[in-house]
Amino acid sequence: MEPEEIRIGVYICHCGINIAATVDVEQVRDSASQLPNVAVSKDFKYMCSDPGQALVRSDIEENDLNRIVVASCSPRMHEPTFRNTIQQAGLNPYCLEMANIREQCSWVHEDKASATDKATKLVSAAVAKALLLEPLEEKEVEIKPQALVMGGGIAGIQASLDIADAGFQVYLVERDPSIGGHMAQLDKTFPTLDCSACILTPKMVEVERHPNIDLLSYSEVTEVNGYIGNFTVKVRKKPRYINMGRCTGCGMCAEVCLLKGRIPSEFDLGIGKRSVPYVPFPYAVPSKYTIDAERCLFLTKGKCGKSPACKEACTADAIDFEQKEEIVELDVGTIVVATGFDLFDATEKPEYGYGLYDNVLSGLEFERLVSSSGPTQGKIVVGGKEPRDVVFVQCVGSRDKSVGNEYCSRVCCMYTAKQAHLIHEKLPDARLTIFYIDVRAFGKGFEEFYDRVREEGVRYIRGNVSDIIKKGDRLMVMAEDTLVGEPIDVEADLVVLATGIVPRVDVKELMRLLKISQSPDGFLLEAHPKLRPVDTASDGIYLAGCCQSPKDIPDTVAQAKGAASSAMTKMAKGKVKVEATTAFVDAFICRGCGRCVEVCEYGAPELQEAGQGVLVSEVNDSLCKGCGACAVICPSGAISMKHFKNGQIFSQIEAVI
């Protein structure tokens, strides 16, 4: 076959004045027209606009163009746009090359002559590569109609319900014995004062009953392999030492446990106590018991009285001390990450005396104290007495460089206002003071609620608390009232710290597991801060809730619905195209050393037997992300990257120098 004649069309974009103000686009256009094989060279105000794209399409038809160079912004921005454009005109999408003369030229230079010179060189490099571009085929892979949801807080619950309602199978993996997450621990929610448990429990029950949801509680994801459409996931089901099928949730085992009332309840943050066999809270889902293996006398010491009382008490014969952990393998097409947050550890701010004084509580501890399902049945009692003076401290662990958290946790202003309201409701004579830096009441109904709380007599003082010290059996809270510039001391019997939201302690492990990254604040990184807030850089993996950034319940639910929708869109389509810019092994040169297999993060290359004892590497296109690590490591130069071949790159370099 005759090699086709290469006919290149070059298009220089003005980007309004973004490029044209710094780069002489006409000059760049004219020099490009002199380059070999360039049939057409034009400039245009906005290449990405409809008329700009139409211009390219009509030129392809009229001038028989078969390679296109667009000199404009970063390919991250508009490469998909122009690939689509030339495909519509019948060209292979990989016959496009872009020259970035905006981010890498006009935006970063001031001198017009030099910037024009640089743009000219960038365009000639792109033309040089265009001469060597080869059409590539994109493969299509199937997407399995099952989703994995990691985390059973409100974000995971909502995402699971939406995906399941759309008809897809959902595996919801929760590490604790019950779903519900932090929302289950809250008393009332701001600003509407809905009872948190009352609005959450119906959703929890729905998860349990939904025919499309497989709930794996007390389980952890240990391994994730594969790619969008075809993830394989390993889940470790921790032994509960309770037969789930038999347990009726009657609670007799907990009643007779020798350690009853002696183990701090995680759910009540240690304020309440539980037995070794436990359900974390009364409305837990599943409503089955779990034996705390680390605390159980029988499991740790091999002996508990004559024989374990719980086993004797269980009429359903559900207790099984022989139970072992189980590894479950799942095949899923998409993954929603909803792993939530940790509460800031207030001992990192020693000046507040948290952990030192019993009457300094974290925000979440106060939720348990004030909750009617909490250890005091909602009675606000500290050290056996009802507090008369209560001080709240805002921004504990948020907006604070001294502890490395520069961000705002977004919920503390309002939960503090709500907590002050709850105390006012229960103890109308209590004097309530809130120390704040700024009050951020930005959400729907927030400002109105903040006004209401102030009208109830809550005193807001602008100033960061500097010290909390003992004064007799009370506390002395010291601060500067920064509105008047004077020091102020307030005595208190109870201090509530508005502890902020921090990334989960094991976020790095999660990142490694899913090959996703984090933003500078430590939370998981979305693909684009504005336009792709629920996607990650890994296709098929989506984010929901506080694992991505601090947010309140309505925002969490909205993001969970967004993540579910993204996952459903892919699964409904059933197929996805994978990038064609993958690694390619020349089997004649390959020596089968296996270095590429070692270096690949995605498990794409594999050594195959190619005749007697001869090993040759082969790359699975569906797994390959085109990163190029194997091509670099290959000692014999057998691996090249499609679309970024050595020859293509060298020709670009030659054109520039």
Partner: protein, 346 residues
């Protein structure tokens, strides 16, 4: 009210935002009140360099010649005698007479940098002698600079004279280099802090003496033979604790002394209250008329029934002991340096 000074660093920053900062500071009282303890710096959620700001303001005062006489005298004394106590440099090593301490010119593993106050102040000389005795008992190979030792510059810098500080730092580093000093221990947390954090290009290791003693005890090179049957609390010096997070070694030393009952005050470690001796305040009184912080501090020690208030800083020792004397509390509480307690129990 638990705060005494009306000095408000935030107000200075605020008022100086669109005005000539020099005018603001000249018109305002309180700039010499700050003890540079760093409580504000440690707590500032926005990482504002409040301490740098205070020393910068004082620099403006010094540049303009608006220096309170006691500060002026201290600064001048450093230039002439290499110490702020107005005593001749040739008398610097008189405290060590009869102790047979090696001079660094003979070579040693460790340089013991005594510091101006322990070298010249009669009360603190006891501490320096105790440290020498302890190191000898543990068989540590150490030496002193003798009369060649000069001020570390820490307080000078904080009195608004960065020029003399630079000069002192360079000179000290040259002397250390001359004797191939690779490790330094100090009596004072102030010398320790400035060597560790403010000497640019320093290539020697620095430890506070309490850190060294703690490791000598741990290694079994020091053992106690006598009991001290007293209740003891410990006051964290700001330059050791708050500013350098050395909280545990002094406590380890104290709790390994046989017979003592160790109690913590309500405000301890990061939460400790300043004694008011830092930032040049050894030379100038506060402009307010409230109780001294040292008085509040001694009160806090007595609240926890301490019979001995231990500390590990020359300035803390002097300010706290001063209160015990002026308030006639000698019968109830005694202020001692950790080194003095160690030597009692050896």
């Amino acid at each position: 009210m638990f705060r005494k000074s009306h000095f408000n660093v935030r107000k200075f920053i605020y008022d100086g935002f669109d005005k000539d900062m020099a005018k603001v500071v000249f018109e305002r009282e309180g700039i010499w009140d700050c003890t540079t303890c760093s409580a504000c710096l440690n707590k500032c959620p926005k990482g504002v360099d409040t301490l740098g700001f205070v020393t910068g303001l004082r620099q403006l005062m010094v540049e303009d010649g608006r220096i309170p006489p006691p500060i002026r005298d201290a600064l001048k004394s450093v230039s002439t005698h290499k110490n702020p106590w107005k005593i001749g440099a040739e008398k610097r090593s008189e405290w060590a007479e009869g102790l047979e301490v090696k001079n660094i010119s003979e070579g040693a593993d460790i340089l013991y940098f005594v510091g101006c106050t322990p070298a010249y102040d009669a009360r603190l000389q006891k501490v320096a002698r105790a440290i020498v005795e302890i190191l000898k008992r543990a068989g540590v190979d150490f030496a002193i600079l003798g009369n060649e030792e000069g001020c570390c510059g820490s307080e000078i810098r904080r009195m608004g004279d960065p020029w003399t500080f630079e000069y002192l730092a360079e000179e000290n580093m040259e002397i250390f280099k001359k004797y191939n000093v690779s490790k330094v221990i100090t009596t004072s947390p102030h010398c320790f802090n400035t060597f560790k954090n403010e000497y640019e290009g320093a290539d020697f290791e620095v430890q506070h003496y309490t850190e060294l003693i703690a490791s000598l005890i741990q290694e079994g090179r020091l053992s106690f033979s006598r009991e001290i049957g007293k209740t003891i609390t410990y006051h964290d010096p700001c330059f050791l604790g708050k500013q350098n997070k050395v909280f545990d070694p002094p406590r380890k030393v104290l709790t390994s002394i046989p017979g003592i009952k160790f109690v913590e005050m309500d405000r301890s470690r990061e939460r400790s209250l300043c004694c008011e001796g830092g930032g040049g305040r050894m030379w100038i009184e506060s402009e307010d008329s409230e109780d001294r912080l040292a008085k509040i501090r001694v009160g806090e020690a007595m609240d926890v029934q301490a019979e001995i208030l231990a500390t590990a800083c020359p300035f803390c020792l002097l300010t706290l002991e001063d209160v015990v004397k002026t308030e006639e509390l000698e019968a109830s509480i005694e202020v001692l340096d950790i080194a003095e307690l160690v030597i009692k129990a050896l």
